[in-house]
């Protein structure tokens, strides 16, 4: 039983790593640009397919392929922000219209991926597939270690960037009070575009790791996005740190439920517990905006 619990802990952490990368990026975009970036899921798939294109179809070295995928994906996300979201925000300011546009983009990108690479699934070679460590009766794949390390470093780097750089602080200032931020000269387009770029860059390793574990399909981003949204709500809308913590909780909670019940019920159970949590703590763990509004 100890073996099972430890093995499930490893699996839970590995899954939480993926959720964490997606949720951190999603939370950053949501808090800075105030856009429910539904197409984040499609960009997730796009980055996976671009890595496949460069690494396997073009035969480039793996690291270079991932870097190119990251650059192109970020470029696509920034273009989406500047050419679609920003004009819509300026024209109507209605967040519902922007969500609709984002859903439309989601389908457009997914269908484009299907047209180019088909829907049958592409297989991304994992150079670390055979590397597995054994501690007692618990197996830890090198891929898991990489996933967890990248997630922790990616999240930590994002938080450090937001706290320790001038641009990061400007993004936080704009997130907390856009009107005042404009008054002091913070350029909304710039902070929004940077948020999109960082949020997308975090997606790339998550998409590659998902591709290693299963296959690349145009709809592969929807599952992680669902977890990311749940993590953002639990962590507190407006908090990048909270989203990361929410994702970790979600992964570990699912693993803990799998210890006692068939794994089929783990996601449903985890989401149910999270729902109850949100009822009791509507601002989430670190809900800056909600808490400050409540205090006023």
């Amino acid at each position: 039983m100890v073996d099972l619990s430890l093995q499930l802990l490893v699996v839970g952490l590995s899954q939480a790593a993926i959720y964490m990368l997606v949720a951190t990026g999603f939370a950053l975009i949501l808090s800075v640009s105030r856009i429910f970036h539904f197409a984040h899921a499609a960009v997730f798939a796009l980055s996976g397919f671009l890595a496949f294109l460069f690494a396997q179809q073009a035969g480039l070295p793996f690291v270079l392929a991932v870097l190119l995928s990251a650059v192109l994906s970020c470029l696509v996300a920034v273009v989406i922000y500047l050419q679609i979201y920003t004009p819509l925000q300026q024209r109507s300011g209605n967040s519902f219209i922007i969500v609709l546009a984002s859903i439309g983009l989601q389908f457009a990108i997914e269908n484009s991926l299907a047209l180019i690479w088909g829907t049958g699934g592409r297989y991304l070679d994992n150079p670390m597939a055979a590397a597995t460590f054994k501690a007692g009766n618990v197996f830890i794949a090198l891929t898991d270690i990489v996933a967890i390390t990248v997630a922790v470093l990616g999240t930590a780097a994002t938080i450090a960037f937001l706290n320790m750089t001038r641009l990061g602080r400007a993004m936080r200032a704009y997130s907390e009070n856009p009107v005042m931020a404009r008054v002091v000269g913070i350029e909304p387009k710039l902070v929004g575009a940077v948020a999109m770029a960082i949020g997308t860059a975090l997606l790339v390793p998550a998409a590659v790791i998902t591709g290693w574990y299963s296959s690349l399909v145009p709809t592969m981003g929807m599952g992680p996005l669902l977890y990311a949204v749940a993590a953002v709500v639990v962590g507190g809308i407006g908090s990048v740190k909270g989203a990361a913590l929410g994702a970790l909780m979600l992964g570990l909670l699912s693993a803990a439920i799998s210890f006692h019940f068939p794994a089929f019920w783990s996601d449903a159970g985890a989401f149910l517990i999270m729902m109850v949590f949100v009822i009791w703590f509507p601002a989430g763990l670190f809900g800056i905006r909600a808490r400050s509004q409540a205090a006023r």
Binding site: L4, G118, T119, S214, G223, S254, S258, A263, F264
Partner: protein
Amino acid sequence: MTMQPEHVSDRTAENAMARVSGWKLNRLRSRTLALTAMVAAALSCAAAPALAQARQKFNFAVTFPLTGIAASQGETASKAVKIALQEINDHDYIGGVELVPFILDSEAKPDIGVRALEQAITVNGAGYVITGYSSVSAAQAPIAERSRVVLVNVGGASPVLSNLSPWFFNAIPLTHLQIPILLEEIIEVQHKKSVALLFRDDDLGRGIRSLFGASAQALGGKLVAEESYLPGTNDFRRQLARIRAGSPDMVYIAGVATEIGSIIGQAASLGLTPLWTSYGAYNHKATIELGKQAADGGIYTNPANFGANLKTLPRYEQMLSAWRTAYGSTSDLDYIAGQIYLGVYLLADTLKTLKSSGKALTPENIRDAMRTTKYETVTGPMTFDKHQDALTSIAIYRLEKSEFKPYKVYSSDDVSAINARVVKQ
């Protein structure tokens, strides 16, 4: 004299009427257009005797995934239809009847499959439809019955498909016939007693679950773990960690083809390396590409394309040769291709029988003939039992060095005997 089956002729007339109504609505005013229409009508009348001498056309459809997670199978299915029709139509196999195919997308989803079937019947005038996937077939069966069209499942293997409707046939041995064969080999021959099941929570998976444990027990085995997952899942590691805790000698995967490789690859990362088993879904390139070495040695059951001596059956050999000629190699030929080819030939053979006995080529007559005809197929002799399930030979195949190879063949009599023993115990 019309050469069309009745249901096709009626619909053709309806379609023509609809077209005429459409023209009326468009209010053709131009004299030129009217004149063109008159000339076209005159030409049609002149051409009528020539058409009467042409071969009778029979419309049929295939509803298979052309998009979605299993799109690759639809592509293979289309290729199989093409080569079957080249043989049938080009050589006038039926004798005065030409088969006209309509290949429609089911996305391997029940609702889309139902829509595709409705289109096949109402728009394309199909009197015989080939389908696959358990959930899709189960959803389509009532539509086929209501429309009085023959629906033939060649790919879905769930036991829930047995005895669904008088208009529904299973041209693949369902898993309730295949699983006892596999379990006998594992438990009694290979002496691997502790078995586990990982199933997809759909009609196929639930159907297999309903008999897997009891069949294993009847043969002296023990079910040590049982886990399930939702369609669309791509991370199976929680389920696999729990299965590993049961230390099974063998794990049966009741999922779709594109999932099996992921499952085996993820299991290897958790140190779970039992004997992997499944049904025909194991025979897919994803099993090799994602499962890698861990998938090697895995065994599965499927309709046999081989005789007891493991020699390729004549009709399957014919198909291999045609495939090679048409597509250059047989590397992309999987069991689905054979099953689709079989489904087209079931229709051709049935129509040939009806023609020779002077009966009309109606869906009713096709259905009745299928109940009594003994077919020679790519899986050997095939008949349909009282539930309209195929009785044919089944083989156990093994993945060896990235090649799917048969290693044991059971005739339909062997299959019946082993199943009777399991039921009795």
